[in-house]
Every structure is written in structure tokens, then in C-alpha cells.
């Protein structure tokens, strides 16, 4: 059984466990959508930690622009010997009214924080260090398709 080792100043994370979607997150219910939103942030967290966005992409529509922004930033960084330290997502709260909107989607509101995130170069120098974020209010817009939730948009409530 490979042992998970978080990233440190001396090297990248090893054997990062792939987030496991709980059965509840596939349920068409308020609790199901909330579990799905929590799972979504676990896939985002995994993406920041490994550069591998495929678990997130498996449950996210390609039209999610903030999701592509994360991928464009994170995935290239995790190549050529570079890595990141930290950046784990914490879901402070997630709630859905489970009301269908006129376009057939459902929404959940989450408060999330991201831990300190360091971008480290292959020579172990730190390119950028971003402090832990304050709580951020996000909206998760999702659709229930073929027995599963699909995230259409995940972004901050306060836009540009």
C-alpha cells in the first residue's frame, strides 16, 4: 500500500489519494447536491496538489471557464520537475435550497478557503507563495444528467 506523503520544500507530494465520490453525491436530492459540491472541491484540491485535473473534469462541463483557468495555471506548473506545496481546499459550509432554476439547473452556495500555496521550481526555489485565503463564497451550478451531477459553473459569487 503506497503511503501518501504531502509535498514539502524538498519534493512533490507522493501517492496523493484520488478523491472518492461518495454514493450520496450521485443522489438527486438536496443532500446529494451538497455532497456533490463537497466532492467537487476535493477534486479541485487534488488538482492543485497534483496538476491532474481529470477527476474534476470527469464531473465538470467543459464550459466551466474558471475550471479551465485553474487547469491552464496548474497543469503546466506540475511539469518539468516543478511542484506545488499546500493549497488544499477546505469547505467551510455548503448549502443548497434545491430549487430548480428556469434553465433546469440547481445551485449550491459554498464557503471555501484555500490553504497556503507555494509554487516551487525544479531547483527548489520558490517562485510564488500565496497566503491562505479568507473564506470565499462560491456558487456551484449543476445539472442532474443520467443519474449523476455535472458541475456547469463553479465561481465566486462576487464576479468581476
Amino acid at each position: 500500500m503506497p503511503v501518501y506523503k504531502p509535498a514539502s520544500a524538498s519534493g512533490p507530494a507522493e501517492n496523493v489519494p484520488v478523491p472518492v465520490k461518495p454514493a450520496l453525491a450521485d443522489e438527486f436530492s438536496k443532500a446529494g447536491l451538497e455532497a456533490f459540491a463537497t466532492y467537487w472541491y476535493a477534486t479541485l484540491s487534488y488538482g492543485f496538489e497534483t496538476g491532474d485535473m481529470s477527476p474534476m473534469e470527469a464531473v465538470t462541463d467543459p464550459s466551466c471557464t474558471t475550471c479551465s483557468k485553474v487547469k491552464a495555471g496548474i497543469t503546466p506548473w506540475h511539469q518539468e520537475g516543478r511542484w506545488t506545496i499546500g493549497g488544499q481546499m477546505t469547505v467551510n459550509s455548503v448549502q443548497s435550497n434545491f430549487v430548480e432554476t428556469p434553465d433546469g439547473t440547481f445551485q449550491a452556495i459554498a464557503s471555501v478557503s484555500q490553504g497556503q500555496l507555494d509554487y516551487v521550481r525544479a531547483d527548489k526555489s520558490v517562485a510564488q507563495s500565496l497566503a491562505k485565503t479568507p473564506p470565499i463564497s462560491d456558487i456551484i451550478v449543476a445539472k442532474f444528467i443520467e443519474g449523476k451531477w455535472l458541475a456547469l459553473t463553479v465561481e465566486h459569487l462576487a464576479g468581476k
Binding site: T65, V70, W77, R82, S111, P135, S137, G159, K160
Partner: protein, 299 residues
């Protein structure tokens, strides 16, 4: 921001390599351009608003969304009503900038989350008063008036062309307004007020009023004068008019370095009137050759 910075650095690196220098160890020049966190990556292009009368959020087609979060504070070391744990207070920042200072922590929750789930936001910061709770309530009650009385500089207005323009022409108007902030004292607390221009109401002086709209307009180069813009106006009569713009500012305030709290209503500030003279143009064609006949009509 990071993208731009990265791009500039990258360009420099190309120049250096082009001059035949040997690449050294990994440097910023080799970094992929975008490094950020969810705080930046997660910014959407849309503003979400809790739609009144519904249980969901919607995107705003125009304008600036309200603050999606609520805030609250808790006193540090409070045992009950007005008793504080003195030993606990000793480990807190000293709130001595005013009378009866107490350290507080601020918490935030998305609006409409029910029940509220409060997450630590910032602090400890200080609140001063005999009854600090009352001081914040009093500020909240009076901040609207204070905001509206702030010496906020209204937008300046320019017309193109100006001050003379032609009947029926698309005369371009634009307003220039800046974010402004003020430090005031209210009920013994230091209050930092910020006013951000968000919308504009245009009054062209001939009875036509447009807005509030998010459009401030912009300057056109002279070769483009006469093109219709979001803020241009066509006068239907000749004469002298006074055009004004009322700038609607959104306010936020922060007490003793606490979170930025929203001021409930916008502040409205009118700019000084801009005189506009509207003229009729008359085209007359003459066929006299003024060199041959200098006294001819139109010469």
C-alpha cells in the same frame, strides 16, 4: 496580472537567449506564466445576485452585484453581558486607541445560507465604546448619512465636440469618476469609507434623461466624432443647454480595520453642468469662381 508579468519576463528571456548567452539555472524566465490560487482562478465574469422572491441566485446583465456575504463579530474573552475574562484579554491585542476598547473577531457567511454558517474572516480588531455593540449599531444606522455627506468628488464631464455641436449630430459625452476613500471618526471608532462609481444618470439639458446606466462613456479620437456611442446624444433643437451627469457611488465602510461592510444605498453626486451650444448647419452651394469674380456670392 500574473499572466502579464510572466509574459513580460518571458520576452526578456528571448532577447537574452537571442544574444547567444547560455541559459543558467531555472529562473522566473522559465516559469509557466500563470501562478495563482482559487481566489483568483475562481473569479467569474458574471455578478451573482440573490433574486428577490425566489430561492436561487441569478446573474446580473449589467451593473455591480451587491456584496454576497454577511458579516458578524464576536467579542474575544466575553464571559457574559459585560464581564470579560481578564486573563484571556492579556493574550489579546491591546485596544487602547479609544475608551473601553475590546478585541473582536469577524466572521463571514454567504447571504441566504440558512442557518448561517460563520467562518472566521479577520481579527482580532478593536471596537471602542462603553457598550461596543451599540457603537457598531450606531455606525450602521448613521453610515448612510455620513456616506452621503462625504466630500465625494462627482464625475467631470466632457462633450465631443464641445462646447459647440450641431443639431442632430451624435454628440459624444463621457464622465470621469474615481474611487475615493475617506477616514472619519464615528462614535469613537475609526471608520474608513470607500466610494466606488458604479452607475451614471445622464441629463442632456433638453429634457432627455438616460439612466441610471453602467456607462461612463469614453473619449473618441477626433476622426470618430459623430459616431453614436452608449452615452452620445442627438439634440433635436438649437440653443444653449446644460448637460449634467449624476454619478451613483456604491459605499463600503470598515470599522477599525475590520471587514469592508456595504453601505445600504448608493450615494448620488451631480457634476457641474457642462454648457453645450447646439447650432444648425446650412449648406449653400455656389458656382462663382472667386478668383475670377471676388465679389461673387459666397466669396
Amino acid at each position: 496580472m500574473f499572466w502579464r508579468l510572466g509574459g513580460r519576463v518571458f520576452t526578456v528571456a528571448c532577447l537574452v537567449l537571442g544574444l547567444g548567452m547560455v541559459a543558467g539555472p531555472a529562473t522566473a524566465a522559465d516559469d509557466p506564466p500563470i501562478t495563482s490560487n482559487w481566489g483568483d482562478f475562481g473569479i467569474g465574469t458574471l455578478g451573482w445576485q440573490a433574486l428577490p422572491g425566489t430561492n436561487y441566485w441569478t446573474v446580473l446583465p449589467v451593473g455591480i452585484p451587491e456584496d454576497p456575504d454577511d458579516y458578524m463579530f464576536k467579542f474575544q474573552c466575553l464571559i457574559d453581558q459585560n464581564n470579560y475574562d481578564q486573563a484571556c484579554l492579556a493574550s489579546q491585542p491591546i485596544c487602547s486607541a479609544g475608551k473601553n476598547g475590546h478585541p473582536v473577531l469577524w466572521y463571514t457567511s454567504p447571504k441566504r445560507t440558512n442557518p448561517r454558517v460563520w467562518t472566521f474572516f479577520t481579527g482580532p480588531t478593536c471596537i471602542y465604546d462603553e457598550k461596543p455593540k451599540d457603537a457598531l449599531d450606531l455606525i450602521a444606522e448613521n453610515i448612510q448619512k455620513k456616506f452621503e455627506e462625504s466630500p465625494i468628488v462627482a464625475a467631470s464631464v466632457v462633450s465631443q465636440p464641445g462646447p459647440n455641436t450641431l443639431l442632430g449630430a451624435h454628440t459624444n459625452f463621457y464622465a470621469t469618476a474615481a474611487e475615493q476613500s475617506f477616514d472619519v471618526e464615528m462614535f469613537g471608532q475609526k471608520v474608513h469609507i470607500t466610494a466606488t462609481p458604479v452607475e451614471y444618470t445622464w441629463s442632456y439639458g433638453d429634457g432627455v434623461v438616460v439612466g441610471p446606466s453602467p456607462y461612463a462613456g469614453g473619449s473618441l479620437t477626433q476622426d470618430r466624432w459623430g459616431e453614436p456611442t452608449n452615452t452620445s446624444h442627438q439634440y433635436g433643437a438649437t440653443g444653449d443647454f446644460a448637460a449634467t451627469v449624476t454619478t451613483h457611488f456604491r459605499g463600503t465602510y470598515s470599522v477599525n480595520g475590520g471587514p469592508r461592510l456595504p453601505v445600504a444605498n448608493q450615494g448620488h453626486f451631480a457634476s457641474a453642468p457642462l454648457p453645450v451650444s447646439v447650432w444648425r448647419s446650412v449648406v449653400k452651394n455656389y458656382e462663382d469662381d472667386c478668383i475670377v469674380n471676388p465679389a461673387g456670392a459666397g466669396c
